[in-house]
């Protein structure tokens, strides 16, 4: 019984130690199934979003976001909620739209995204871009694990 109580206490303590949140500090961060760009996207999060830390594995942080678990890289998040980006204001002054978010524009129904909108307006084909995205999707996290293991490179070196 005492042993059980000890385990419960330990569990509560470790839970407490891990009960921390981090905040997304980049405008858009992909939460992935594994620790690397090769892994599929679980969800995406935006600057200022609060993520619950589930665990830490080296520079990778396992988080819970939008009800799902996945990994983010440590440089993408911060302990404190990010403030207003001074660079954004300067950038606007310099280039007019350097901080314009085409993703948000697209979401608001303003267009496909600047690159696709521009290509369309210029009569350019976007087939190459679509092919490139398809190539990337053809590679899974498992493919990458096998590739790096067999080649003795990457995390397996």
């Amino acid at each position: 019984m005492r042993r059980l109580a000890g385990l419960v206490a330990l569990s509560v303590l470790s839970g407490s130690a891990l009960a921390e949140d981090v905040f997304v500090k980049q405008s858009r961060v992909v939460v992935r199934e594994g620790k690397g760009a090769a892994y599929d996207e679980v969800t995406t999060v935006a600057k200022g979003d609060r993520l619950q830390v589930v665990g830490r594995e080296g520079p990778w942080i396992k988080v819970r976001a939008k009800g799902r678990e996945g990994y983010v890289f440590e440089s993408a998040v911060a302990d404190q909620k990010p403030g207003e980006d001074l660079g954004a204001g300067l950038s606007k002054m310099l280039g007019g739209n350097a901080q314009a978010s085409s993703a948000s524009d697209a979401a608001a129904g303003k267009g496909l995204g600047e690159a696709l909108d521009l290509a369309k307006s210029r009569g350019q084909s976007t087939a190459g871009l679509q092919k490139m995205k398809a190539i990337r999707k053809s590679v899974s996290g498992k493919d990458w694990e096998q590739f790096t293991r067999e080649g003795n490179v990457g995390p397996n070196k």
Binding site: Q26, G36, F73, N97, S102, A103, V139, V153
Partner: protein, 267 residues
């Protein structure tokens, strides 16, 4: 020899924009150091580079080779400070020897470059150099400098629509990436970063100078050809990267795997 045969990877470029003096350049860099670019913006610019490049040269129709190049690229990208990024890779169908990159993680390598390579470390070296341009945000720097040269206020004229302004940025960037090339400082930094990335990823960093040296040999060892403007010769790059590597322990070359990938692609 085709005048474009060895592209930006080897060439570097003229200092951005004619008429830009050193004071302007320094001021532009200083002023721009506080300026950031959103991940979405980077991605849109990167997509535009891919669209421009693939409207010139199609993506090579060899799915297995494209997948292989992507796996090598992801391995190198895993050693950057953005191992979680939106890294994408493809082979473009041209006999020219070169590689290109766009902001956000888009990297293209030519069929001609792969034909000229002898092992996976050389491919990793070329990809690492391009990945370094992305990680160093050189695309943003190019746009920023050109913007400063033109005059920020003029560039961001109130009459410009959002798309027209983006079009100007895209054109400046595409010109840098596909035609004029990065500046000398950016090229040198990309080489230095590439060696570090290769070593972190477990590849033989010597793959980069080996490939450069072979290209220099093909070019006839002239050092500075017309196409390479005022930039350091390939021999200098070979010397610098070789010195940087020093006596570090060699990494993987995966020569057999590379040969299989080329053979399967009938290259």
């Amino acid at each position: 020899m085709h005048k474009q045969i060895i592209k930006t990877f080897l060439a570097g470029a003229l200092l951005f924009a004619a008429g830009c003096n050193q004071q302007q350049m320094a001021a532009g860099m200083k002023m721009g150091s506080a300026v950031t670019m959103s991940e979405e913006k980077e991605d849109e610019l990167g997509q535009s580079v891919v669209i421009a490049a693939t409207n010139r040269w199609p993506i090579l129709d060899r799915p297995a080779l494209n997948k292989y190049v992507t796996l090598v690229g992801l391995t190198v990208a895993g050693a950057t400070n953005r191992p979680d990024g939106n890294w994408q890779f493809a082979v473009i169908d041209t006999p020219d020897i070169g590689a290109y990159s766009g902001p956000g993680g888009y990297v293209l390598v030519t069929r001609g470059a792969i034909e000229a390579m002898e092992d996976e470390a050389e491919l990793a070296g070329v990809l690492a150099h391009e990945i370094a341009h992305v990680a160093n945000k050189d695309g943003f720097e190019a746009v920023k400098r050109a913007r400063f040269n033109e005059g920020a206020l003029q560039f961001a004229a109130a009459s410009d629509s959002r798309l027209a302004a983006f079009g100007k940025e895209t054109d400046l960037l595409v010109n840098t990436v596909l035609t004029s090339g990065w500046n000398q400082d950016q090229e040198t930094k990309a080489d230095t970063s590439a060696v570090k990335l290769l070593q972190r990823a477990g590849y033989d960093a010597g793959g980069l100078p080996r490939f450069l040296a072979r290209m220099e040999q093909r070019r006839g060892g002239s050092g500075r050809g017309k196409a390479f403007g005022t930039h350091p010769g390939t021999a200098d790059r070979v010397a610098k990267t070789t010195a940087q590597i020093g006596s570090a322990k060699p990494g993987a070359t995966n020569r057999e795997r590379f040969a299989r990938a080329k053979a399967e692609a009938r290259l």
